[in-house]
Amino acid sequence: MKVLVIIPTYNESENIVNVINGLRKYQDNKEYILDYVIINDGSSDNTKEICEKNKYNVINLIHNLGIGGAVQTGYQYALKNNYDIALQFDGDNQHDAKYIKDLVMPIINKEASMTVGSRYVSNLSNFKSSKMRQIGIKFLSFVLKITTGKKIYDITSGFRAVNKDIISLFAEDYPSDYPEPETVVEVIKKGYVVKEIPVQMHEREHGKSSITPLKSIYYMVKVTYAMVVRSIIERKG
């Protein structure tokens, strides 16, 4: 089994070395081979130089595509290089490499086609983000329940792993902005099993989060719309 960790980054030069060092601690494994690829989404800082200096496996996008386009590039890379499992891992040190195995094993054991690292199904994570954001996530989780009948608590989590079928699905079509909840709807509607795995997440060490309060209303409207439309489209198809 070959596992690819997809690490999208945008101006994360302060974090990227820590992320890769954290990942390497858990690279030795009997069950599977763990590779990674950094997708540098046209960063304007020295992310590119740092990656090349440290000889990291990196794809430098020649133009900023946004998170969706960057992650999709990772899935295309996984498909081309015949990976069995792809795992999304944020480049800002919020995710903990310790839990990669927890996300990968259910897919290897064929218990699920997709696993989502979740802050809300256990007390592992003391960092659960702000009150407002928790309400937003609760609401989107409710939208998922209505549109698919399934319950995923940490639906916006960007810490997720998928099997080969879903790699080719995502390589072909992936939303360009705020992709996480919409793709969960798509995957469930297509009949795949999604499993939520308890993980611990950390607060960012450097830099700022990409979602400002001003954008959050737009975010909620867009994501809700996308989830509803996606569920209608998948029902017809």
Partner: protein, 112 residues
Amino acid sequence: MNLHLRIFLILLIILGMYLIIKTISKKNLSMKYGMYWSIIFLFFLILIIFPNIIEYIAKLCGFKEAPNMLFLIAIFIIFYIIFRLYITISKLQEINKCLVQELSIFKKEQKK
């Protein structure tokens, strides 16, 4: 507003919504722009169901006739959409240029 006219307009909007979702599912329209159009349609739907809103707001703003206000709003919305369209086209041109340049340089380097 006449009841038949209202039913006709509502059917028109349902058809419009159907077209939007169908176009999105064919990947000819992004979710983002589909949402913009849906919001505009929803706005029209509310006005058709409660036409008194227009009369009320028009009076409040000092328009002599309610349709005058509607035309003005419609022109502003269309103007804004076209403006956004031009911005998007400009961005696309820039990215396209980047792609052509980068690919051409890459191809030349591959030949060496």
